[in-house]
């Protein structure tokens, strides 16, 4: 079947996002020594539906049991490294569990609570590619078949930010035979995190997008409730023009669906981020990023155990506006000189502290 250039670009963009998301996903093993691990035979799928409401839409099935709906959009102009401009990406991802194992037969039936459902059947077009079993794995080659998924798709974003009703989408089906792989310790797995969140966290971040220079200013702000987390990273890279790279991610779990919404802005607009200089106390910073952000946030280090983070900063993410300041946030600010810390702030552990004064046990006096 003929696949148009736009569709190819969309598939490529979506594929990139999914790869980035998977890079951010935790690995299933938690053992400390490398050991052989049997990877069972599995089937995955990737489908591109085109755009709606300005968002590129697609579904990824990393395994027959998980379906992830992606909505992706670029906001603003492409950013030239040296010019006073900014470019932004916003993305949302919805991960649900899928019953049964019909993907092996080329069928997808997934329900995205409050958003809609998809019911599709794969029709190959004859094009197929073979890939090795994977790094550190022994087994038969993976087979990628290309073609169309046909059936019915009815999905609507919160508040109608996209509205998709279609009967087909181009895509591929990936069959991975059983393999024996060398497994190593993932090092940072949090067993309390729902596995679906692993697929909705955006792959944005300095280690993927920055060209390698360390950050000389790095501001973190994070808030957590039982069903959601908000995380923001603001970085000014060494040698970069005035401005900052702002990365926000909101993760929530509701109605059995894991939702990750994120925004990434590379802003070369002067005034985006100002801060105190290295060694200056009290440390302070003001953040005023461009669209999709509005307002500004102010950081002030009251002490090593108390930071205030105030202002009216919000971000417009797909389907919701999210406030990014307030007493619920814990913050951390790192400002270093490249002459003293050539690697910058990126390898310095953040000191996330809230605005509330810590409780002092009886008999202790704070210094």
């Amino acid at each position: 079947m003929f696949v148009g250039a736009k569709a190819k670009c969309g598939v490529a963009a979506l594929g990139l996002l999914i790869v980035l998301s998977c890079l951010a996903a935790p690995v299933s093993s938690a053992r400390s020594q490398p050991h052989p691990e049997v990877r069972p035979a599995s089937t995955g799928a990737l489908i591109y539906f085109g755009s709606s409401g300005g968002y590129e839409l697609g579904i990824s099935m990393p395994s027959p049991k998980i379906a992830v709906l992606y909505a992706f959009r670029q906001v603003g102009e492409g950013s030239d490294e040296r010019s006073n401009s900014s470019s932004a990406f916003v993305q949302s991802a919805y991960a649900v569990r899928v019953k049964g194992n019909s993907l092996e037969k080329g069928r997808i039936r997934a329900v995205f609570p409050t958003l809609g459902r998809v019911s599709l059947r794969f029709e190959p077009n004859g094009k197929r590619e073979l890939h090795p079993a994977g790094y550190g794995c022994r087994g038969k080659q993976q087979v990628t078949e290309y073609g169309s998924f046909r059936g019915s798709v009815s999905l609507e974003g919160e508040g109608g930010y996209f509205d998709l009703a279609t009967r087909s989408g181009d895509g591929s089906l990936i069959r991975s035979p059983r393999a024996v792989c060398r497994s190593e310790d993932s090092g940072g797995e949090d067993e309390g995190i729902d596995p679906r969140w692993a697929y909705v966290g955006a792959g944005f971040g300095s280690f993927i997008y920055s060209p390698g220079d360390g950050s000389t200013v790095l501001l973190y702000a994070a808030a957590r409730t039982p069903y959601s987390t908000i995380g923001m990273r603001v970085a000014h890279r060494e040698s970069a023009p005035a401005g900052a790279e702002v990365d926000v991610q909101v993760l929530e779990l509701r109605h059995g669906i894991a939702i990750g919404r994120s925004a990434w802005v590379q802003s070369n607009v002067p005034g985006t981020l100002t801060s105190s200089l290295p060694g200056e106390h009290p440390a302070s910073a003001t953040l005023k990023p461009s669209s999709p952000f509005q307002g500004e946030g102010s950081f002030l280090e009251n002490s090593s155990t108390s930071h205030s983070w105030t202002g009216n900063l919000t971000v417009s993410l797909p389907g919701m506006d999210v406030p990014l300041t307030g007493p619920d946030f814990k913050t951390s600010l790192c400002v270093v000189s490249p002459l003293k810390a050539p690697a910058g702030c990126d390898f310095i552990r953040p000191n996330l502290v809230g605005s509330a004064r810590p409780k002092v046990p009886p008999g202790w006096s704070g210094r």
Binding site: V217, G243, T274
Partner: protein, 305 residues
């Protein structure tokens, strides 16, 4: 090292050791046989004037005084076996023949080259050399003068690689400002380690600029050695990135390098270099790319194109 060897090394470095033919391997290059006629003259106002003319028809007049050098370069035509005719529009004209007096001696090739010894012919030039610097900061006019012709055979030389580690140990801070847009300027300041002799606690300021004027290339440079105080870091612990440079004459004014609240770097002030006969050249501003290294790392800033 004798003055002759130094002069020969400078000649090789500046004029002649351009890889001229295919090298035998990637570490070596070969130098075609050639010659250079060298005339050393005294200019007005205490300047030394050296003239070099070679078999590639390049004619250079180098004027120097107290660390300040101006080099004027043009192309000429052969006059006689080792003489030359060349015009320096707006500055003067050179036209002479070389007459050997019969005395000669041999000289060794530079240490990084292999080949037979070269031959230096002594004698004098007959004709006319007339040169006036800008605003007549110096001038020279002669019809005959002592001269020497250095003739070298084909040489096989190896590429020289700077020993970066050795250089890194010698200085404690380096600051470079590079104006890559017209006119190109390179300004550097290096502060040397206190353990190093004789440059202990000294700062060496260098500036180099080049442009084409009146159809000839003019390169100007200056090198000044000063004490530690012209390279000031007011607060090395809290603000190591803030530097104040106040080099002595022929520089004037102050250059200030600072980190701003947006964590970008400014290079401002009235620092300039005064070359003889021309307007002062500013050495600060947005057009300069900066490379400042001290302590454990470096700070870089790109210049405005």
């Amino acid at each position: 090292m004798s003055r002759r060897v130094l002069a020969f090394a400078a000649l090789f470095g500046g004029l002649l050791l351009l890889p001229s033919t295919a090298a035998a391997d990637s570490n070596h290059y070969s130098v075609d046989p050639g010659y250079t006629t060298h005339v050393e003259l005294k200019g007005a106002n205490g300047y030394r004037v050296n003239l070099y003319a070679g078999n590639r028809h390049r004619v250079t007049i180098k004027v120097r005084k107290a660390g300040v050098v101006a080099e004027y370069q043009t192309r000429g035509a052969k006059r006689g076996k080792y003489g030359v005719v060349a015009g320096f529009p707006g500055f003067g004209r050179v036209s002479f023949q070389f007459k050997a007096n019969g005395r000669h001696h041999r000289f060794s090739p530079p240490p990084w080259c292999d080949g037979p010894d070269g031959l230096a012919l002594e004698g004098r030039i007959l004709g006319r050399i007339r040169f006036d610097g800008e605003e007549r900061y110096t001038s020279v006019s002669v019809e005959r003068a002592k001269a020497e012709v250095e003739i070298w055979p084909r040489l096989r030389c190896r590429y020289l690689e700077p020993d970066v580690r050795r250089q890194r140990r010698r200085w404690t801070a380096t600051f470079g400002a590079y104006g890559e847009t017209f006119p190109s300027i390179e300004f550097t300041a290096k502060r040397y380690s206190r353990r190093l002799h004789p440059a202990s606690r000294q700062v060496v300021f260098n500036v180099f600029t080049g442009r084409r004027e009146h159809g000839i290339w003019i390169h100007r440079s200056a090198r000044v050695v000063a004490g530690n105080s012209p390279f000031a870091v007011p607060d090395p612990r809290e603000s190591p990135e803030n530097v104040i440079l106040r080099p002595p004459p022929p520089f004037s004014g102050t250059g200030i390098f600072q980190r701003t609240p947006e964590s970008v770097f400014t290079w401002e002030g009235d620092l300039s270099i005064q070359f003889p006969g021309v307007d002062p050249l500013p050495l600060t501003g947005l057009r300069f790319a900066i490379d400042y290294c001290a302590q454990l790392g470096c700070v870089q800033r790109q210049g405005d194109a």
